[in-house]
């Protein structure tokens, strides 16, 4: 197996504070890879660096062996790397249909068309409708995003990333803040993601992590503390001590 996403000695400082400290990570193609660690361990900073939201202080990011360290976010998306956000980053007054249309049009390279109206791209509209239906959003496709129930917004967050047809999808706490009764919908979408998409999951909910991930990296104080299969991590006394809860 080859690594589809790889980092080499990635480092990010904020002033004197080192948020990401020499992280070298290999994510294999088709993996279900979870990234866990205590609050402030630098998980979100790492995802921001991977997706071009933040530049690293030093180190490299590679996608399929190609260096993407200094590429802007939108180019990375074109190359197949995208993400969701821990706190919803949606277009507040767009309808889900419009938001998904935007993502598909950009993926197809049609986003710079100035003249033809959006509705005339009939295949895109069909695809958007199908995608929304798949994510359980068909019934609300015409509602404003900021008026959707929170759980639906979380689904849209994932649908939007998915519309770019990513090869690697980074999910930053997909179930965070979702009320209990809407939770199962989000979780089933996450577990039903197609097998050929590589998924990196950041999550605090250990039930979800252990049921979903086949490989886990534990991040502590900006550095990789431990890495292994789910079983290895669950059994590691060191990981228990720093994160899962202590043993004696």
């Amino acid at each position: 197996m080859t690594a589809v996403l790889e980092t080499r000695d990635l480092k990010r400082r904020f002033g004197a504070f080192v948020a990401t400290n020499d992280v070298s990570l290999k994510i294999e193609r088709g993996a279900r890879h979870a990234l866990i660690g205590p609050n402030g361990a630098g998980k979100t900073t790492l995802v921001n660096i991977l997706t071009g939201v933040l530049p690293p202080t030093s180190g490299q990011v590679l996608l399929d062996g190609e260096e993407i360290t200094n590429l802007p976010s939108h180019t990375r998306v074109k190359k197949g790397l995208t993400r969701t956000f821990q706190i919803n980053q949606l277009f507040a007054d767009y309808t889900p249909l419009e938001a998904v249309m935007l993502a598909i049009l950009e993926r197809e390279g049609l986003g710079s068309r100035l003249w033809a109206v959006v509705g005339s791209y009939r295949k895109t509209v069909d695809e958007a409708a199908a995608l929304l239906a798949r994510f359980g959003l068909a019934s609300v496709m015409a509602d404003r995003t900021n008026r959707l129930p929170y759980g639906k917004q979380r689904l849209l967050e994932i649908a939007l990333a998915f519309a770019s047809k990513p090869r690697v999808l980074l999910l930053d706490e997909p179930a965070a803040g979702v009320p209990e009764d809407e939770r199962h919908e989000v979780l089933s979408i996450v577990s039903d993601l197609p097998a050929d998409v590589t998924v990196v999951l950041i999550e605090h909910d250990m039930d979800l992590v252990f049921s979903f991930a086949n490989r886990i990296s534990v991040l502590v104080a900006g550095a990789i503390f431990a890495e292994g299969t789910a079983a290895e991590i669950a059994a590691s006394p060191d990981v228990k001590a720093v994160y899962l809860g202590e043993s004696a």
Partner: protein, 347 residues
């Protein structure tokens, strides 16, 4: 929804078909020509016959409206707060004046040249407003406009300095239609330019490009992460808007056969911002409604208090913001929902 929902047998495939046809209807409704749009243009045309004595103020409105539609592209669609949009207006005005004086006084040629000059300036300065917060953008745009104003003032050999640029008169349009004394032909010409520019802006707004613009305004980080090249889109938009502002400036020159340094003054940038504050941003017609409201208000106030109309405009703005602009302009949203729209052009 105005269309009857099509009958369907509830199978999985049918269900999908229902979703898809609903999606198609929704996407088409976005671009549907709303009845108020037709009313505006019909009304504008009607004024030519109904209000022949008001051509001057109508011309003023048309020019301001064009200027405001241009700023709306930058502000309402791309989300860039600019305090220096007069830079493009003024450059357009001076270019048109100089072109009429030294090259040819045919107005349409002058208009295009003025638009091109303003567009070039827009393209060149767009790189300065790509980064930074609202404050830095505000100051950069303001700084550029002030530099332009200073340049116009200093280069008296070219621009006439503080006395303004004069000594030219405008030829008939295409050499055929002369500007008449009452400003009627002129107004029709301005209206045509405004109409065409609005049409372009409208197509742009409803294109994939326009869809991505509002996404950038709403959330630039996420827009980049669905694949939108944010910088490139902003540069294009800023340039197109600059061209339109240049048009507006050129039209002013053609009206008055004179260019005063006032075309670059701060109050012009502020006024056009206020026009959008009154008319609302991000739906194209805010500039036009706002220009009508602003000009009529200013006119009425300057009749009542010739010197101090500025005070009441200021008060209106303060109240507008405190009450909430969004709440006041929401009716426009509803307009499209309630009135049965006509079918839009769809290809």
């Amino acid at each position: 929804m105005s269309l009857p929902v099509q009958e369907s047998v509830q199978t999985g495939a049918e269900e999908q078909h229902v979703d898809q046809s609903r999606a198609h209807r929704l996407m088409q409704r976005r671009t549907t020509v709303r009845s108020f749009e037709i009313l505006i243009w019909l009304g504008a045309l009607a004024t030519v016959y109904l209000l022949p004595s008001k051509m001057l103020i109508l011309t003023e409105i048309a020019i301001l409206a064009l200027f405001a539609v241009s700023l709306d592209l930058v502000l309402g669609f791309a989300g860039i707060v600019s305090l220096g949009h007069a830079a493009f207006f003024g450059l357009g005005a001076y270019t048109a004046g100089l072109f009429a004086r030294y090259v040819t006084a045919e107005p349409v040629a002058g208009l295009l040249v003025a638009g091109a000059a303003a567009g070039l300036l827009g393209y060149a300065t767009s790189f300065l407003i790509l980064r930074g917060s609202d404050l830095t953008r505000l100051m950069t745009t303001l700084g550029i406009a002030l530099m332009m104003a200073e340049a116009a003032n200093q280069m008296a050999w070219l621009t006439g300095g503080a006395d303004g640029l004069s000594g030219f008169s405008i030829d008939p349009i295409f050499g055929l239609v002369p500007f008449d004394l009452w400003g009627r032909n002129g107004f029709i010409y301005y209206l045509v330019v405004l109409f065409l520019s609005t049409l372009v802006a409208r197509r742009l707004a409803f294109s994939p490009f326009g869809l991505s613009l509002k996404a950038i305004k709403s959330n630039p980080v996420r827009a980049a992460l669905v694949g939108v090249p944010v910088r490139r889109r902003l540069i294009t938009t800023y340039t197109v808007a600059a061209v339109m502002a240049g048009f507006a400036g050129a039209l002013l020159t053609h009206t008055t056969s004179f260019v005063s340094p006032d075309v670059l003054a701060f109050h012009r940038s502020a006024d056009v911002l206020l026009v959008l504050a009154i008319g609302g941003t991000g739906y194209l017609y805010g500039g036009i409604f706002g220009a009508i409201g602003f000009t009529l208000l200013k006119d009425a106030l300057s009749v009542v208090t010739p010197q101090y109309w500025m005070f009441w405009i200021g008060l209106l703005l303060v109240i507008l913001v405190l009450v909430g602009r969004a709440r006041l302009t929401r009716w426009v949203d509803d307009l499209g929902e309630r009135l049965p729209g006509l079918r839009g052009t769809n290809r």
